[in-house]
């Protein structure tokens, strides 16, 4: 079964002249760690937003697992994203006025579905923080963390509630090579445990060897690059 299945997907912004994303047929098998690379401005983030149901394609089908995103109403897509996805940004991931614990908790609070999957939310959050080496910072203001620590909190938030699909948009861009690898190990370790699929976007190709599969954006999308 495919975790992501795209068919004849076409998307452009109101202001763009050509298709920003134009994918005939592409899929990511469930449980795969997939690395998506491509130069800046080619449309990687846009693709992730489509997968997350934040942008709406003009044509084609978008399947996430057994759900066809393209048929959902905007409200249903927001709900779906909250319930089934984990999302990591490249930086500035956290809500500055919530502490570490609350930032992770946020993902559960936004989704009754995720919350109900986790038997004891508090214990689970603490466990995740521990496995990411962040236990000591549990009640710390996130503004007092280093970038790497912030990204680990963001990862914990994306992992909580056992999302089927984790989308990561250059989450390691602010880290040095060693920390980047460590970050990815943690991601893989947790994702394997949850049997989640990971789609990891970056233009930094030095990371690709750690993934199951590498895809260049230009290979799948024939829009302008």
């Amino acid at each position: 079964m495919a975790a992501i299945l795209l068919k004849n997907l076409q998307f452009k912004y109101p202001s763009s002249k050509t298709w920003v994303v134009d994918i005939k047929d592409w899929q990511v098998p469930a449980g795969e760690m997939c690395f998506l690379s491509g130069p800046s401005g080619c449309g990687k983030s846009t693709l992730l937003e489509i997968l997350a149901g934040i942008q709406k394609e003009q044509a084609g089908e978008v399947w996430i697992g057994t759900t066809e995103m393209s048929r959902l109403s905007p409200q249903e897509r927001d709900r779906f994203r909250a319930d089934h996805l984990g999302y990591v940004f490249q930086s500035f991931n956290l809500i500055p006025y919530l502490n570490v614990f609350e930032n992770v908790q946020l993902a559960l609070e936004m989704s009754p579905h995720k919350k109900q999957k986790v038997a004891s939310p508090r214990a689970k959050i603490d466990e995740l923080l521990r496995s990411l080496g962040m236990s000591d910072f549990r009640d710390r203001a996130v503004t007092e963390l280093s970038i790497g620590q912030q990204q680990r909190v963001a990862l914990a938030r994306a992992l909580i509630g056992e999302p089927e699909l984790i989308l990561a948009d250059e989450p390691t861009s602010a880290l040095d090579y060693d920390h980047r690898e460590k970050f990815l190990q943690l991601l893989f370790q947790e994702a394997r445990k949850l049997k989640s699929t990971v789609l990891f976007v970056s233009h930094d190709r030095t990371l690709e060897k750690l993934f199951d599969r590498t895809v260049a954006f230009s290979e799948i999308s024939k829009g302008r690059t």
């Binding site: 709900r79 909250a82 936004m110």
Partner: protein, 421 residues
Amino acid sequence: MFFLHLAWKSLWNRKITSLLTVLSVALSIALVLSVDRAKRASEEGFTSTISGTDLIVGARSGPLNLLLYTVFNMGNATNNISIETYNYFKSHPAVEWTIPYSLGDSHRGFRVVGTDDSFYEHYRFRKDRQLEFAEGAKAQGIWDVVLGADVAEKWNYQLGQKVVIAHGITKGEGILFHDDKPFRVSGILKKTGTALDRSLYITLAGLEAVHIDWSNGAQPTRESAIPQDQVRAEDLKTTQITSFFLRTKSRIETLRLQREINTYENEALSAIIPGVTLGELWRGLEFVEAVLIAIGWLVIFVGLVTLLIALLTSLNERRREMSILRSLGASPMKLASLLVAESFLLSALGVLAGVVSHVFSFWLLKDFLENQLGLYLTGAWIGSQGWLAMSMTVVLGALVGFLPAVQAQRRALKDGLSVKT
């Protein structure tokens, strides 16, 4: 609910701006509540200056004038009424009691009233309060004077002290003094919070006595002057009074008696029903009240605009935050409701703080207002105006949140997940 928690945390994160916003809402609410309260208190104080009196009678004049110079120590009588007329109505079968009330002299800016025992016995104010003495007793002898509370306090008069009254009604110090015939303080009234506190009370005989050697309003010459110790009660004949208060045996008689007095053949008289004329007078002051209320509402408007500005300016700093919430599944609607929740919290807190500071400040100022300004704070803390202002502020406050909410929603759709500035 986590959502309110989020809104609260977000506000707390911007505590200075939030605090100032709450403060501006609180100030406007406190202002409106206080104006409303002061207005109700002054209306209460105003209309409760006299009660239990069915008619006030004086020489023919406008009703307002008659009311002002008898009850509020303002203005002058144009004419006096004869003692025969007074006695006629005093023993009228429909009349229960009368209080004579003669004006004309003053003491250091306060009026001197000539009256008799019936004043201490029958005069009522604030529903059914009777005059009480702080010290001493009513004026009985010719040279006795009873002081209103304000008079005694202002000049620090004690029982037994000698007081000289001036001829005519003057604002400040008199020009012509009855300094050959000083009065002795026999009693000091308890504070009433009405105009009664700002007068001195002597007997009708006393009022005659100081003028015994005056002729046609002219001071006596050295030869015609009669020394105080030679004034005898038998020689004092009251021939005129300025006005009198009257109580009917049955309220039903009031209108009929009023007509009878107004059409009395022997003398041109005016009789007014105090409550009716007070009501007219108060309505005449309504525009002042309207202006104050209008200012209050303007201040509330300004408070709400401040709220709007605070929310709109915060939006820019919070685009990132909005994107993160969106990535976690918050719909644009939910982001919008977050902002509405925030503005609701701010305005509700503002209203709360406004009420607290209103209650607290009036509690602090209670004594001052009652004693110095005669504002008796009876009645509810918050009147209908206040409730209206409070509920309007909360509702409008929440509504104000819609404008930034709509903007945030539009932006959320445009920005997607990644903020591009």
